[in-house]
Symmetry: C2
Subunit: 344 residues, 2 copies
């Protein structure tokens, strides 16, 4: 709970600092352009080439780097890798909104911490509360209902909530170049998974539509559940924290295969990239480096959200691929004219 | 651990009672016979028809029972549902053989329980040891190595070990009619999963070849792991017991969708079948009833392995499909001439 809790506190603090930003309208591609280049939102250069070279090598039959289809596993972090995580994690916005929504049934929350801090936007009081109180916020907003009811709560929220800066639904604040990588990998026989520190059931309702990744390929931090009256009740007890070393552990548990490609953006992804590259044969480890304050955000070593420090050092030592968002990506977000992502 | 531990004790006891049985040589099908009937090893009748009717209803576009491809989830117990579980669970045979193999490095085991009991085939002493000592046997034989090393240990064992009665590799002691159901469901857009009380990593090395079910669709009882030097070390601590109510919990966690079809054979599958049928729309719940002492085994309410008692009552009340192995199945095991199962 540690890393996420601290981040969550910071996330709430961040809410107070929002600035409305500008966004460049993305160019629309013709069909023929899309078909001739699997990664049209990427500028040509060594980053793009590192990805396409890898895919060509592992899919070329007879090549020494060839990998059979069943072993073409690629794992992706979500926050900051597939969608925006600044100025606060999307899940923190959800938590915040849900406290406000539930407050009507809990008149005592107006004077009870940590709820009062959220309701009064009192970030100082919230930060003073520490991890335990923040964990309490997560439990109150995420558990105590069936998995099916939570699914409806998240589905409803994500349909209406908007990113504070980009003024668009969060599922449109996903990175178009990464959506293209997901589709490109799947076209080449890869099975694509999300392996995120975010709560698993917070992601499952919308990943298929946003990324073409079905529910069963979404791995995240998990609350315990128990069977009750034919449904699964979500309990206020964490079962698995899918962050740092927890990512390889959950990859082993859920997939049972070592990925050959992994994509992340923060120190929480370091062990997943290490685990991926520790296997034999061709391997691809990629970090999204947020370098574009104008079109998105610019942050790394000193950021409280999505800290990229140790993993950046390791990437430089081990020649992992580091995406320079500003120079590598032509577009950041999907054009409203883009259709749905092809299914796996 | 309770159910499995007790069963394991019984399994070891069972080793002493083995009788060499007779097996009817399975008939060989011509290609055209196989193609015209997706379930050629099933006798025509209401059991077979219940399965094919269900599949036809959920796959017929425009039908009120139509289920989109992404929700066609079918879950299968393994021991006693997909392969033989008598006279002892295959995993108990593995545990037994591995204690004997490891004994060379542990001279003290000759006089130390529970190892001595296994080495001396002293079932009375083993049973006297209780759950804790049996759990110790599982931990010693299943953990303390990386997941990749355990994979090699199981792969090697399963290639050489033979069923005591049928004198064939265990992966040939699988039920041909169920292999046909798996393939038939996949041909109709279903994703097929194993959800077994057996240890997850004990199954993953061979399920693809035996059943066409890839590693990532195998859910079982799990030991904890930790990341160490780029590999996952298997720890001597259970993480999840995939039996009884643990089956729906793990289905929720791993798949995140309620199955529309579930197949089991014992009381340990009861909650999985209840969870499956508690959903709305067309549902299929099937129990394999072992009624064929001549060709396989005959057991239900009083058996220590694969007890089928409460679930059989519920099946009768709720009109679940109950397979009468003796009258419903033309053949029990695959013909040696059958090729590999088509992949998902």
């Amino acid at each position: 709970m540690r890393v996420r809790s601290i981040n969550l506190v910071v996330s709430f603090i961040g809410v107070g600092l929002l600035l409305s930003g500008c966004q460049r309208p993305p160019a629309t591609k013709t069909l023929s352009e899309v078909h001739s280049d699997p990664l049209p939102s990427w500028n040509d250069g060594q980053t793009k080439r590192a990805i396409t070279d890898f895919v060509e090598r592992v899919t070329k039959e007879g090549s020494s780097d060839f990998v059979p289809v069943e072993d073409r596993i690629a794992t992706f972090d979500n926050d900051g890798t597939l969608w925006v995580e600044q100025p606060v994690y999307t899940e923190a916005s959800f938590t915040n909104d849900r406290v406000e929504q539930l407050a009507a049934q809990h008149p005592d929350w107006k004077k009870k911490q940590p709820y009062a801090a959220v309701l009064n936007h009192d970030m100082k009081a919230l930060a003073a509360g520490g991890q335990k109180e923040v964990a309490q916020l997560l439990i109150v907003t995420h558990t105590g209902m069936t998995t099916e009811d939570f699914d409806k709560i998240v589905s409803d929220w994500i349909q209406h909530a908007k990113h504070p800066r980009f003024k668009k639904p969060f599922t449109q604040c996903i990175y178009q170049p990464m959506v293209e990588v997901l589709a490109y990998l799947r076209q080449n026989g890869f099975k694509t998974y999300i392996v995120s520190g975010g709560e698993q059931e917070f992601m499952r309702p919308w990943t298929e539509k946003a990324y073409g990744i079905p529910r069963e390929q979404v791995i995240g931090t998990q609350f315990k559940t128990e069977l009750k009256d034919g449904a699964l009740m979500r309990l206020g007890q964490l079962d698995s924290i899918d962050d740092g070393p927890g990512k390889p552990v959950n990859i082993g548990r859920f997939i049972g295969k070592r990925p050959i490609a992994a994509f992340g953006n923060s120190d929480g992804d370091q062990q997943m990239l290490e685990y991926t590259t520790a296997g034999s044969g061709a391997r691809l480890a990629v970090l999204v480096h947020h370098t574009d304050a104008q079109r998105e955000y610019s942050y790394d070593r000193d950021s409280k959200i999505g800290t990229l420090n140790k993993a950046l050092d390791e990437a430089q030592q081990k020649h992992w691929v580091v995406i320079d968002m500003k120079s590598d990506w032509k577009e950041i977000f999907p054009s409203p004219l883009n259709g749905e992502v092809p299914r796996q």
